[in-house]
């Protein structure tokens, strides 16, 4: 029995609690690891014990391994661009708009999301004035559902309306598909709640010219674009593929440039001009690819792996593989960031957008060690960025095989947020994100760092289905 080996071998001690227990052992030359302990689950001792029952449990460990195998097996190929109504039938059947984050009613929506709803209603011709659009939304004339409920993701307000062109990403092994809209660029954009002729003109141009030219270009490529290999390359070039997409956008444009140039009639040349100046172009691809991967890991019984984290500007929510389709929500957190001239924290809307799906897939804050150019968000040093990536590795199940972090000697990006680890350590996932003005119609005012609130994970753990009686 193992007590014999305890008497025979050396002690390797873990100390949880009073440090005075560790010192005499250290003085005697014993290896002692002190845990930087604090009460798990915000001090809820009953939930803490429930959590402990899940720790090291063979069913949970096996289920998490299955979920991660499915997530990491996905090959996200960019296969098409088409109007949203063709990709998502519900958009053709009902007067429906998709939005970012967990479900939310019009009356509760934050300023930027309301503005984006108004913009979409004008774009679709459902209303001819903003006031009319608001009346329709308020009277139930427009339905609202989360993008996530339709295998889609949208950054910031995340409004998807029937005529908007969508990126279609497919996993060839399963035929599973995910979607995102096309990125409008920086500054005044509908996704940040900016309204105006400039914004509407660009949206109309994207539907009429950008979408069709991209579709034609894509179809003339010899093979589909594998977003996973493109992301892996970009991580070697300074992107973390959430708030920094400069390299990935350039790589993707390089793939498309020749083909776009061959379709001037459809808008290929204008598209090239537009893409030249859009440093966020790849973000929506990164999101769609991340959604495709994480949705593959959803629905594994007994798995504590997080498969979505999304924010609607009022609430944020997580979904967990073994917890069905419920959202576990908390009030949206503030973003700590750097601001454009003339704006400050008092202008900022709380955290918003589906883009944190990137973190759920090991990118963004989890891959911060790959992106020295944006370390300004977290104190300004590459070592701080490395520390965040390392800290995120303490709350994930595994590491990505392809997504490697040069700043950490090419170790894989931490992936697969484990509800158990978040609640046990109190370490909240770090998210890199843009900042939207809280008033409708203004737009992006900065960018920075936020965290997925512990409360979401505590609620998910409370709702986690009981395990069968242990063997």
């Amino acid at each position: 029995m193992s007590l014999r080996t305890l008497f025979a071998g050396d002690l390797h001690v873990v100390n949880v609690g009073l440090e005075s227990f560790a010192q005499p052992l250290r003085d005697s030359g014993v290896d002692v690891t002190s845990i930087d302990w604090r009460p798990p689950a915000h001090g809820d001792d009953e939930l803490g014990l429930d959590l402990a029952r899940l720790v090291g449990h063979p069913l949970v460990e096996a289920s998490n391994a299955v979920a991660m195998d499915r997530i990491l097996a996905v090959q996200p190929l960019w296969v098409d661009v088409c109007p949203a109504r063709e990709a998502i039938p519900a958009l053709a059947e009902r007067r429906l708009l998709l939005h970012a984050g967990p479900p939310i009613a019009w009356a509760e929506m934050c300023g930027p999301m309301r503005a984006a709803v108004v913009g979409a209603a004008l774009l679709e011709g459902w209303a001819s004035t903003p006031a009319e659009a608001e009346r329709q939304a308020a009277s139930g004339g427009i339905e609202f559902e989360p993008c996530h409920h339709h295998d889609a993701v949208g950054p910031m307000a995340g409004i998807i309306s029937p005529s908007m062109p969508l990126i279609v990403v497919e996993d060839p092994a399963t035929g599973r598909r995910s979607y995102s809209n096309l990125n409008e660029g920086q500054g005044r954009c509908l996704r940040y709640g900016a309204l105006g002729d400039d914004v509407m003109d660009r949206l109309r141009w994207m539907s009429a010219r950008l979408g069709p030219s991209l579709r034609a270009a894509l179809r003339s490529l010899p093979e589909r674009v594998n977003l996973r290999s493109l992301t892996a390359q970009a991580l070697q070039m300074g992107d973390e593929c959430h708030s920094r997409n400069v390299a990935s956008s350039a790589l993707l444009v390089r793939e498309l440039a020749g083909a776009l140039a061959q379709h001037p009639d459809l808008g290929g040349h204008e598209a090239l001009e537009f893409l030249r100046g859009n440093n966020y172009w790849f973000l929506n691809f990164s999101m769609a690819a991340s959604k495709l991967a994480t949705m593959a890991g959803h629905g594994v019984e007994h798995s504590t792996v997080v498969t979505a984290f999304a924010r609607n500007g009022v609430e944020v929510g997580v979904r967990v593989s073994g917890c069905g389709d419920s959202w576990f929500t908390a009030p949206a957190a503030d973003v700590e960031g750097l601001y454009f001239p003339g704006f400050g924290p008092e202008d900022a809307n709380p955290d918003i957008g589906d883009s944190a799906i990137a973190e759920v897939h090991g990118l963004g804050g989890f891959a911060l060690a790959a992106a020295p150019a944006i370390v300004g968000f977290i104190g300004g040093t590459p070592s701080a960025a490395r520390r965040i990536s390392e800290e995120m590795a303490t709350i994930t199940v595994t590491r990505h095989r392809d997504y490697q972090l040069p700043g950490l000697d090419f170790v894989g990006a931490p992936v697969g947020i484990d509800v158990r680890a978040v609640v046990d350590t109190g370490t909240e996932p770090t998210i890199t994100t843009g900042i939207s003005h809280r008033e409708p119609g203004i737009g992006q005012i900065g960018a920075g760092i936020t965290h997925a609130p512990l409360e979401c994970f505590i609620k998910a753990l409370r709702a986690f289905p009981a395990l069968p009686v242990e063997p």
Partner: protein
Amino acid sequence: MSVRNVVHENLYFDSVALMRVAASLDDRPGIEAVSLVMATDANRDVLSDAGLLTDEGRAAGPNDLIVAVRGNEAALVEALSDADAALSQPWSPTDGTASPSHAASPRRLVGAPEGANLALISTPGRYAAAEALKALRHGMHVFIFSDNVPVQQEVMLKQEAHQRGLLVMGADCGTTILNGLPLGFANAVRRGDVGLIGASGTGLQQISTLLDSMGVGISQLIGVGSHDLSAEVGGLSMLTALDALAEDPSTNVIVLVSKPPAPAVAGEVLARAAAAGKSVVVSFLGSDVRAPAPQVVVASDLREAARAAARLSLGADVPAVEAPDLSPLVDTLPGRWLRALYAGGTFAYEAELLLRPVLGAISSRVERYAPGRVPRLPDSHLVLDLGDDVFTSGRPHPMIDPATRIEFLRAAVRDPASAVVVVDIVIGHGAAEDPAGALAPVIAEAAGSPTAPLVLAFVVGTGHDPQNLGEQEQLLRDAGAVVVDDSTTAAEVAGDVLTKIGATR
């Protein structure tokens, strides 16, 4: 307020780096707004909207960098010059958030290194079971110092451990020595062939230190927690440890010590002891168990348990130590009551057990105790366990902090009704640095008074303990106390003196 733009031609910086420089200048007195941007069309529009664009900026091209500032004239000049300096500096950390790249302490037990085989847990009791369960799931043995762990959680932990072939020491476990290494409170005793298992921390310390004084060492000393031998827990850890010591080639003699177990548990432990294949000394204080087999020896007190184990280990009798004859003192003692003020709960229990038959009624509590107030002592014999929850809620245990005991000791030596005061001094790892030194002034202060009672003391420890047995005993003697060897002797001597007083008055 005025606005100034400075254009750096063909100078590229990433936007985040520029925003960072801007943020560092933004909050200065006299500065209203700062922006550093590459002069793209879009960025010039943003500056224009913010009222930060001048003709210089308007003329800049996309490869140029604009530094735009609005503020009072003096502040503007300084800010622009500092912006220049910041742009020409090599990148360097500007705050304290950078740290060496060594790994931080893990935040959870699961993050402990591979190969860890023992977890020490001293969190508040309501969190302890969760941490212990995580440790067991990762293949670690567990020592739980925390008390107030619900008994059903202790049962759950010990069942989990049993299935995994692991040992749970605790909850409420004060002492263990594994492979010569002290966990919690433990004395520097020599190593040898006696293995001890106990539900009583001070009982284990008393037996192990007495063995040390007899030249006998210990192989392992395993605390199982004060509730282990209850009916609910069923002695799960004592049985596991007993099996382990039965198989341990370094252990020839086993000692089991506890306050009285639940009867069914006592029966199961004795049956297992009889089958251990080694000599087993059983000291279940206050329990009338009988030896079920020749190799099981039942000892009625702690001193006898130590002597029996030493006899078995050495294969020879251990000479008895003469107790001091204090009968000459009897006539000088003013009062008639016992005041035994223990830090060790097992000593209080043993004292009541030994003295009730000779002294009759003994009180074990005081009325209306409040820290900082002079304690009221009863008009009767008194045996107190000052480690009890009544005295330790919100205060450290008297083995760590002598404050509560000093209050009681002072009250006892000043009380003319006191005849004999008994104190235990427990030293070793984990105990106070100089416990005898803390009590000695109180004893000395009373020693000169004609109404001073007899102070009997014993020190639990060895010459190798950090506080040193001999030095602690000498401090007590110098203060006027009579020092005896152990808890059992102290109770007996007190009983003798008090019996004589009772017979003469």
